[in-house]
Every structure is written in C-alpha cells, then in structure tokens.
Symmetry: C2
Subunit: 450 residues, 2 copies
C-alpha cells in the first residue's frame, strides 16, 4: 500500500490463553495442540503501558524472521510467507506476543522454555464448516457441514447460508477473528467474528453508497477521514473524487488490512491512492488528536451504532466526530436495516440532532448478502452551510475513473442517491409518530435551516 503508517497499538492485560488449535490436511483429523500459556510465560505481554520490544520498530518486517511478533498477526502473515494456513482459535481476546519460527512449514510456538509444534495445513483445506462459527454459536445457530451460516442476532430465527468452496484464510488478529472463503454464490467472502463483512459480488453497493452519499452532498470535499473500513473499499470510492486532497484512515487492525490486500486486491486497491494515510489507532483516540474543524467529511465504517450495549453510547463518539468536522461538514455512518424494527434508529437520530446541529437523515441501500438484504446509513451535517442530503450538489460521473479504482461505478448514481432517502410508509409512519422521529421526513430538516 502507498499509505504512510502511523502505528500505535492499544495495550490490554493478559490473563491466560486457552488453546491453540490446528487442523490437519484432511480436516477430519482434529489434532489439536493444547498450549497453556500464561502472561508470565510470554516473551512479551501487553499489561498496562508495557511496550513490546521489537514490535513497533520492525512492524511489517517482523514476520520474515524468527522474532517477537503478535501471534494473531503473525499467523496472518505466515500464510503469505509459507502458503500455509494456521488456526489459532480462542486467542483473539488476548494480546499475545510469543516467539515464533517457521521450520519446513511447521509453526513452532515458543513459550518461554517450552515449545509446541503445530503441523501446518494447506490453504484451501476443506474444513468441516460446522466448526467454523463456533465462537458465535448459540442453540439457535444452525449448522451444516460445508456451508457457512450467518446468524442474525438482532433478527433471531433466521440464518443465511453460503456454500463454501474453499477456505482461503482463517486467523485471529489481536482484535478479532477473520476468515476468507471462496463461496459458490458470492465469490470471495470475508467473515469477521462470525459476521459477514463483504463479498466480492456485492461489496460495491455498500462501499459506493456509504461514500458517495456524503461526498456528493457537499461541494468539493477536500479532507476526508475514514474510521474503520480497513478493507480499503471506501478508500477506493473516496479516491474517485478529484477534489479530495487528503484521505486519512483510522483502522486499528493491521492484520485485517493485510488479509484484504492479499485476498481482495480490487477492494484494497484503495490503499494505493497516494493521498491516503493509514493511522493504526482506535477511532475515538484518533479523533481526540485531530484539530477542531479538520474534515469536510467523516465516514464511519467501524461498528454498528445502534446496538444499545455499544461503546458508542458510553463515549462521546459523535461529539468527537462533530468537533473534527468543519462547519457544514458531513458524517455518514452505517446504521443497520430499516427492517430491524427492534433497533432504535429514532433514539440515534434524536441523540445526533443536538450534537451535529445541521441535517440528520436516514438513507438505505440494498446489499443481498447482508441480513434482510438492506442496510441503512445515518447522515449528519454540522451547523454551517446547509446540507440537503436528498439533493446532491456534487454529482459524480457514472463512468468516473478518477483515482485508483479500476472500474467505473457499479451501483451509485444520482437517481439512486435520491431514492435512498425514500422510505417505506412503515418507517415514515413511525417517524411521524413517536418512534423513529425524523427518519424520512421529506423536508423537515432542510426547512429548519432555510
């Protein structure tokens, strides 16, 4: 990637590690190597402010040699090095640093004085996918060998199954578990902690809409910040805007970036834009470090903003976003499906109005691989020049080929932009009543500012 790397890793305590699992080539021989690691055994742990020797400085070079590396991350990189695939289940909750070495394809996990060898498996080994989603299993989570199932916790009682042709990658970073598989229906698919993130077949719908809805709503966007979105697809879309001069991306998980670069080059192509700077940081922490009024647009593709237990509701995240925007600047954040009535979009919008003080709107698009086939966006602008999200002032040429994207737009166009704000009556009705206040009102926001 062409982006500069501003690496800063958040550190946490380690208690213990339950196991390091692996699989043999046949998949049915479950030769798990149990490794009882404790923080005290590790070469380097992450307790408190403790720094890990050799990690920060060596960054991307660390994986080419025997050294102290983050285990999860190393696993991802070793796939590239060896053409092999290794599993390290149940590790992601701990930030592990152990000595590792490769010896003829065998991964050796060194743990103080003891050492455990894990026989490798080839990339593409046929897993019994029943076990792939173990982390997310509940009694209600159906399983079928050879198929990946995404269970929708906010709309229980349904699951979407994708047939797995080949598992291409499976590993854990310091933050989350990842899987890439070749599906029959959607091309390559990326799974994060058991949830489908992106498929080759339909990623463009989400990426184009979350990007161009905000960027086409303001004239000449110049500085843009992306929080999350480590796959690079939104960077690719921002890249189409010739007015943009600076693109910051704040993504905490570098392993995710690496895996996308390896398996989804047409998505991660966004990193090739020389205007991009990658900041490896927590989003809130990064926002705190940003001078007030820096950005014309901030796109947030980091988490679901609506689930009531999310940290978003505990921290002043939106205040930080609003502060980092210039007057009349815009934010777009993923905001779930209109079909998920249990989620309180209204509460989110009510919360955002006094913070952003400009327009607050809800839009949506179709993405067939996502639960319900639909996903929504919350769009907010700060006090300042009026932003009328429904009527874009900065249209983009449908054959646009500016920047690093190799293909013209596949989904977004001005018509689709305007249609994205047209809500079914059940959503408008809720809006006009006590619930979902503000969703889909045709003119309320704009009128307020005219």
């Amino acid at each position: 990637g062409g982006g500069k790397i501003d690496r800063e890793v958040a550190l946490e305590d380690i208690d213990n590690v339950e196991e390091v699992g692996n699989r043999t080539e046949k998949g049915d021989q479950d030769a798990k190597a149990h490794v009882d690691l404790h923080a005290s055994d590790l070469v380097a742990s992450r307790g408190g402010q403790e720094e890990i020797e050799g990690v920060e400085e060596e960054a991307d070079d660390a994986y080419d040699k025997e050294d102290v590396v983050p285990l999860g991350h190393a696993f991802g990189s070793w796939v590239e090095d060896l053409g092999l695939l290794h599993r390290a289940d149940s590790i992601s909750e701990y930030n592990l640093y152990v000595k590792m070495a490769k010896e003829d394809g065998v991964v050796v996990v060194r743990n103080g004085d003891s050492e455990v060898s894990l026989p490798p498996i080839s990339a593409g080994t046929e897993y019994n996918t029943k076990e792939l989603a173990d982390d997310n299993l509940t009694d209600d989570h159906p399983k079928v060998p050879g198929w990946f199932s995404e269970y929708c916790p906010i709309w229980p009682g349904q699951a979407h199954f994708l047939k797995v042709e080949k598992i291409l990658f499976q590993g854990r970073s310091e933050y989350q578990s990842m899987m890439v598989f070749q599906s029959s229906a959607y091309g390559k698919v990326f799974i994060l902690d058991g949830a489908l993130q992106l498929t080759e077949k339909d990623e463009f719908a989400y990426q184009e809409m979350i990007t161009h809805l905000p960027l086409c709503s303001i004239p000449n966007p110049n500085k843009v910040l992306l929080i999350g979105g480590g796959d690079g697809g939104i960077l690719r879309e921002i890249s189409r805007h010739s007015s943009v001069q600076h693109i910051d991306i704040c993504e905490i998980d570098t392993m995710l970036v690496d895996v996308y670069k390896k398996y989804f080059p047409s998505v991660a192509v966004g990193y090739e834009d020389p205007r991009v700077t990658l900041h490896v940081k927590d989003g809130s922490a990064f926002l705190k470090s940003v001078p007030e009024g820096t950005y014309d647009a901030i796109i947030v593709d980091a988490f679901d903003p609506i689930r009531p237990d999310h940290e978003l509701h505990k921290t002043p995240f939106f205040e930080l976003v609003a502060k980092a925007l210039r007057p009349g600047g815009v934010m777009c954040i993923q905001a779930e499906s209109i079909w998920f009535r249990s989620l309180d979009i209204e509460q989110l919008m009510v919360k955002c109005r006094p913070i952003f003080k400009g327009s607050v709107r809800y839009a949506w698009t179709i993405v067939p691989a996502y639960p319900s086939g639909v996903i929504g966006f919350l769009l907010c602008s700060t006090e300042g020049p009026l932003v009328d999200f429904r009527n874009p002032v900065n249209p983009i040429d449908p054959n646009n080929s500016y920047g690093v994207a190799k293909e013209p737009l596949k989904f977004y166009n001005t018509e689709v932009h305007m249609a994205a704000f047209c809500l079914p009556s059940f959503a408008k009705k809720v809006n006009n009543g006590s619930k979902m206040n503000g969703v889909g009102t045709l003119a309320a926001d704009e009128a307020k500012h005219k």
Copy 2:
C-alpha cells in the same frame, strides 16, 4: 369469502398414484402407507372431458360428509373439519378423486374395494423439517432439523433458513404442495412447492407494490383482473381503490385459497370485497374467454416470467394479456430480482415492447424474506393514452382505509413508487448496452410516446 365462484376445473389423465404418506405424532415414526392407486380403481378420474359426479355441484359442501372429493383438496379441508393435519405426498401431479371418510380423526382413503386408514397427526406436531422440503432437495440443498430452508435455484450456493416454531398445515392440492408454519422471525409463513411465498411480517411490501405501481399509474382504474394471487393480498390492495368497480381473480387452486383464508385472514380479507369475483380457471384459458379491451389493469402474480423453461415462453400469454387490456391499460407482473443477473430481463422486455406497444418498464422493491431481499416488477402499457409509470397520476392517500383492508398502507407511498424505478448503475449500464435493454432508461419509453 364474498366472491362469486365460477368453478371450472381443468381435467387431466391419471396414470397411477405412487404413494400416500403420513406421519405419526412424534414425526420420527415414518409410518408411510403405500397405496397403489390406478385410474381404473378410482371412483372418479379426470380423463379427458370426463366429469366427476358430485364434485362440481357440491363444491364447498363436499367436505362435510363422506363423499367423492378431490383428494388433495379434501385433505386441506379436513384440517378445518377435524383440527388435524394430514400429509399426502407425491399426489399433486395426479388429479385424484377418491371416497374419503373421517372416523375419529382417522382418514380412510377408499379406493374401490380396498381401503387404507391413515393415522392422523395433530396440527403443530414437531416435524423433522429436514424432510419437509424433500421435493426440492438437491445435493446442494442444506438441511437443519427444526429449520425450514429455502434454496434459491437461480442463485445457487445460498440458502435462507427460518426457524420453525410449529407446523400449522401441510398438504397438497391438485396442483402443488403447501405448508404453513409459525416461524420465529417472520410470523406465519406460506410455502408453495418448497418456495417461500409470503410471510406475515413482510407480505405488505410485495402486495402493495405489485398493486399500486400499476393502479396509481393510470387515472380512475375501473375493471381490474388478477391472475394468480390466490392468497388475496393483492385483492385487499386493489380494494383500496374507490374507482374500481369490478375485480376479477383467476386462480386455479381453490385449496390454496382455503388455506390462506384459514391461516392468513388479514391477507385473504381481500376476498371479502363484494366487487371480487373468483374464477377457478387457468389464466390463459380465462384470458381467451375475455372480450377484447375489458380491463384497465391486469396484475399477474402466478409464476416467474423469466425462467426460460416456463410455459410463458411457449404460449402467447402476453398477447392474451395485451388483448384483454383497454388502450392505455396496464399490466404488472412479478419479474424477479435485479441481483439475479443470469435471468434475462432484457429478453423479457424486448419481447414485451412489440406486444404491448406502450411503455415497458422495470421496477423493484425490497422484501426481506425473498431471495436477495429484492423482487422486481415488469410494467407494460398498451398503445393508447400515455402511461408514465415513473410519475404516478393517481396518488393514493397513505392513510387510505377504503375497502376491506383493516390497516392503512404500510409500504407504498408516492415517493417509494418513484424510487422503485431508480436502478443501480450495474443494471442501467447493462441496459444501455446490449443487455437488459430498456431497463431503467429514464425517459426513453415516455419520450417515444410524447
């Protein structure tokens, strides 16, 4: 229902009957009763023009007593009579008329001299749903006990699973197999030949859009024909239009109507409109009997028009529809999802242009329970007064409560109508090139006629 019944049953030959299967209460005791029936054994068969004594005259009364009745239909009605559920697999392809009697909940199938008793099972028995979709099973069709899976044959490699709380009905008519179950996620669900037709939770999206897209595009619709749509939901939506004076519905399967009336009263409420006349006929046969220029609008909810092997492509179905419409009359037919690129929407539109000679447009809506979460509509108008489908001339009050519907509109509104014609770039692009010609062109059709 309040509709008049113009009953005319299409008759076919019987060769033989393979089996009558049933299940015990526990579901795991597969006590199938094999009945070798041959046409010659039956009390009444359907060979050629042969009429079945007692069937036509007694119609709805036939099931209250021991009599000669169509087997599949009888099974459906017996559920109501006995509160019991019976299965008669593999019969639907034959039009069976046998003597049946109820004896303390036991169904007796009389077949000439021989007689087979089928032990009943209670409604709500927990089936092993692995076996529910047996008819549609392929090697690629995943199964999970306790879950219903819809496999999408035109987008293989994916399946949507719904958790089954209780099976409420299962049976076969002369034409198709039916199942109603209580789902955790979507309320009651109706399955036809293994394919999800309708759910309580989201049926309104489909029913409202397929109805109001055509009816709001012309001023004062008066006579409307519905082909298929036996569930009654489209009737309910047509009923909202006060200008409509005659509603004909042509539905060949009366058992389907009965099952909907029993389990989906808020959908089948459409039959209570006194303007409705039910014609139990094949759609093409009915159209042939209709005087030229009879209808202002024809809605077709009978089959998928795009699959190349469908009879639609063998018979002059669209010609019959066009002929039955007045000049400037409109047709709306279900036309699959824009995500199913393998389907040739272009071919369908190219075929329709010379037949209808007016506008030919493609629109879509979201329905989360359907494959891809989206379904499309083909809208055509005949030569005559211009129909600009994108800009409705006959808006409907969002709080409309005219007719038999108990609730106001939940999905359709004028904004959503107009947005339904806005297509993602990948569809427009295909359209502007050699494929999907005409899909989504903003002004082409209208311009042609201005």
